[in-house]
Amino acid sequence: MWLLLGIALAVAAAAVGTYLRARVEANELFDYQLKEMAASLTDAPFAAVPAGAGSIGAGSDAMVVQIWDRNGVQLFLSQPRRVLPQNAQLGFSTVATESGQWRLFSALAAGQVVQIAQPMSARRELAASMALRTIMPLLAVLPFLALLIWFTIARGLRPLDQVAAAVARRSPALLTPLPDSDLPREVQPLVGALNGLLSRLRHTLDAQRAFVADAAHELRTPLTAVHLQAQLAERATTDGERAAALAELKAGLERATRLVEQLLTLAREEPGVSGSQATTVDLAALAREVISDLAPLAGAKGIDLGLSAASASTVSGDADALRTLISNLVDNAIRYTPAGGKVDVALGNDGGGVALTVRDNGPGIAAVDRERVFDRFYRGGGAGGIRGSGLGLAIVKRIAERHFADLELSSGIDGHGLGVTVRFTQPVPPRTLAQDGGATA
């Protein structure tokens, strides 16, 4: 549409231009004609003026000839009906009369003044007809041009229409790549970028679905336990039985609650969820906070919990997430270390970046299990009858990935138990905590 309008405007401009130019040319042409005519009349004595001279170009645009003698007596007027000034100004002049503008040319020769007059309308008409002749063919082809443009553009945009239709057919359930064969070169980068986006979306959605399925499955166990505990509480016939059953029910509810909380934490750390910004975080301060928070738990089990070394330990990252990371590691260590054991938190910089290590002297993790402990809902086989949610280390892994930190498992204190090291190898760029650092879990 806009293209067509533009073309119409261009044609109009061309018409105006042609008209203006034609008028200039017509002026020159007619002025020359006037001059020639005057010359021919002055060359000959008045008597020689042909009788029919007055009828030159008879009609509205006819020329008018006046001749005066030296004394100003009019000797000849070719068209008496015409009212023209009775005076004469030598050379060209333009006068306005009742019948429009006239162009005059007066010449003095042989004692006579010869004046030739011609209406300006004649020139305008000529110019207009010239302009019209010029643009007529253009106007004639305009509809064909419009058709051609419409056809060409529709043809050119068809691949885009197809891409749009293909995108419209996509839904969360159908995120297959768009067909990218037989595409014009201009559209290919767009389709490539869209396919990249679709593939990332698909992976994120798959990860989310797997997570929800896992979560639903894992929630069933504590809920089954609560269900059974509630039935036992219902059946209880004595106060003592009822109190014991209710205590177990409470423990079951606490376990279910803790699992839900951990699921929420993990969901927050899933790719594309957390939007927090990186700030400068003092890991030593965080570690001290976590240790004082968990000291009562350690104390209840008679575990010696402490911070053994804390050198330069500033990293950039999400303070809340890093607190969760340290807390999960220390909590795990306390959970799996038998009463009277020891849990050590250490911070240092061994050249490869800031490293946070949590060591214990508990049962440790067998080498065969070490690869899987960071998997969601993986629980070590027969870890002294202790059953966690199976999420603690998975959360640690996600947070470490977001901070581009490496995780290492080693043996713990004096070669016994477990040691987990989180090494912050590269600074997190400010404002951009990795949203999809590493592959999805």
Binding site: H217, T221, T224, H227, L228, Q229, Q231, E248, R255, G382
Partner: protein, 225 residues
């Protein structure tokens, strides 16, 4: 009736054991597949309650090994609601029944009783022997329609004997029916219970086969009361 419970979740296992014990079952609880196999090898359990998601050896593997080894004891699997494939796999592997988590303790007990009836070839839930009637669901005993009060162990002992009239059960066999691993058994506990039963139901009901064990006579023999 002595049941082997194989369940890896501590809270679920503890609750099921307590609930079934209240219903008169003797329950032994193991937390992984290997322990379950070791317990099955003892041949003291009448039925098995099997969770399919056991560590070290899955419930399905335990079940397949049982059936391949000719073990025909009833197996009831405990599965999750959405795991239809698990249930089908379990039944096809030789399970007799299933319950879906979360399940009802009363229903679980009823299904175990039904399995035990079927195994004994009976359809009638009431175990009848002469004038004696035992209702395993309500733990009621009647003689000629009159209720007789029996303790849980007395009831279990009588049930064991009446389930297979004519069979002689040794002291060890009876103890295995009555006591789980966690129960301490007095050396003369079985004699004490039999003495009490004879007192309540008549001296000639339970016969002593000297040096072997105890039995009740087959109903068609002249010794029947």
């Amino acid at each position: 009736m002595r049941v082997l419970l194989a369940e890896d979740d501590v809270m679920i296992g503890a609750s099921v054991r307590r609930g079934l014990s209240q219903d008169g079952f003797t329950v032994d609880w193991v937390e992984d597949g290997r322990a379950a196999e070791a317990a099955l090898a003892e041949r003291v359990h009448d039925a098995v309650l099997l969770d399919l998601g056991l560590p070290r050896k899955t419930g399905l593997e335990v079940l397949l090994a049982m059936r391949r080894g000719g073990d025909t004891r009833p197996v009831l699997i405990m599965t999750a609601r959405d795991a239809i494939a698990d249930r089908v796999a379990g039944l096809d592997a030789g399970a007799d029944d299933y319950v879906v988590k979360p399940f009802d303790l009363t229903e679980l007990a009823a299904r175990l009783r039904a399995l035990s009836r079927r195994r004994a070839g009976r359809a009638d839930p009431i175990l009848a022997y002469g004038a004696i009637e035992l209702d395993p669901a309500s733990h009621q005993a009647r003689v000629r329609g009159q209720p007789v009060s029996l303790s849980a162990r007395e009831f279990a002992l009588l049930q064991a004997l009446l389930t297979r009239p004519g069979a002689v059960l040794s002291r060890a066999q009876l103890e295995a029916r009555l006591y789980g691993w966690s129960d301490s058994v007095e050396s003369n506990a079985v004699e004490v219970h039999i003495h009490a039963l004879r007192k309540k139901l008549g001296a000639d009901l339970i016969r002593n086969v000297r040096g072997v064990g105890w039995m009740v006579a087959k109903p068609d023999s002249e010794a029947a009361p």
